[in-house]
């Protein structure tokens, strides 16, 4: 059975949370964020989808970007960091995620532990 549309919907919602949570730990630029998030299994965030997401978060005032000329790079990089509003959003999203996860665990019951075992 083709799970791709469902998986893509699932990841779309999680991508925003993953980006905000990663930026809370450290100010980062696009490729750095991608590599950190892509290295975690199951969270496939594509090169083509992260920049529109960052663009929207910046327009909404959740993150802010600044251009930095790093000595180890031949080109300028755009670093992003959370704004106060972004931190608030992240806290709310984490709380919502925890409720969602708890609810799903209850619905799926031992099925999830079977997969993990």
């Amino acid at each position: 059975m083709d799970l791709s549309p469902w998986k893509s919907q699932l990841r779309k919602g999680a991508a925003e949370l993953a980006v905000l949570a990663t930026l809370e730990r450290k100010e980062s630029y696009g490729v750095e964020l991608l590599e950190r998030i892509q290295s975690i299994g199951g969270l496939a965030l594509s090169d083509g989808s992260i920049y529109p997401l960052l663009n929207r978060l910046q327009k909404d005032g959740k993150i802010r970007g600044r251009w930095v000329e790093d000595p180890d790079a031949t080109h300028p990089r755009k670093y992003y960091a959370l704004t106060a509003e972004g931190r608030e959003l992240l806290a709310e999203m984490i709380a919502e995620w925890a409720r969602f996860e708890a609810g799903m665990r209850e619905v799926l019951g031992e099925k999830v532990s079977d997969v993990n075992a």
């Binding site: 630029y29 490729v31 090169d47 083509g48 989808s49 080109h75 755009k78």
Partner: protein, 196 residues
């Protein structure tokens, strides 16, 4: 803020960025510039980290510039937006940025538009001096002769089109315009690597 172009830029990247900028025409100028600069920075970063990976591969990961650009723009209810003035010009500029790779396409566009301009010029001339321009047919020493344009040589030839030249010329010009628009749309829809 960094300036464009970057010395590490290659022709495929230049074409991609030009097409991206054209596709973002409806976005505010400052935002458009940021998106183009960040895309450039992304590609240079990927190539910097994996020098063995071709630029075309990095660009393919982003998707076709028009598809990629759409993700930055607010949702448009109808997929067929009316074309804005200057869109063709921007598309041609995008092709011109491709250097030699896109030269054949530019030459075809230039040749077609030359035909259209000549046709319109003849139509205007027909309205101004109807007896001096048209499709001329005559019998010369070498046999049957046909001449399109102005019979300035004074040869004894008969003009056969008359006033029909004007609608015919307009038809040619309009056909050329639509043919070029369709050609550019097809080329812009293609991925950067499949450009001629």
């Amino acid at each position: 803020m960094p300036n464009t172009p970057h010395p590490g830029e290659t022709a495929p990247l230049r074409v991609y960025l030009a097409r991206l900028e054209a596709a973002l025409a409806s976005a505010p100028a400052a935002e458009r510039r940021e998106i183009v600069l960040e895309t450039q920075s992304h590609v240079l970063e990927r190539v910097h980290r994996s020098p063995w990976e071709p630029v075309e591969g990095v660009l393919a990961e982003l998707g076709a510039p028009e598809t990629y650009a759409r993700q930055f723009l607010p949702e448009v209810p109808s997929p067929s937006r009316p074309s804005r003035p200057g869109q063709t010009l921007r598309a041609v500029a995008g092709l011109a940025a491709g250097g030699w790779a896109t030269l054949p396409a530019l030459l075809v566009v230039a040749a077609l538009y030359t035909v259209a301009v000549v046709a319109l010029f003849m139509a205007a001339w027909e309205l101004h001096q109807p007896d001096t321009v048209g499709l001329w047919i005559g019998m010369g020493a070498e046999g049957r002769q046909v001449l399109l344009g102005s019979n300035l040589s004074g040869r004894s030839m008969r003009e056969v089109l008359g006033g029909r030249l004007v609608p015919l010329a307009l038809l040619v010009a309009v056909t050329v315009h639509f043919a070029v628009s369709a050609l550019l749309r097809r080329m812009l829809r293609a991925t950067p690597t499949s450009l001629p």
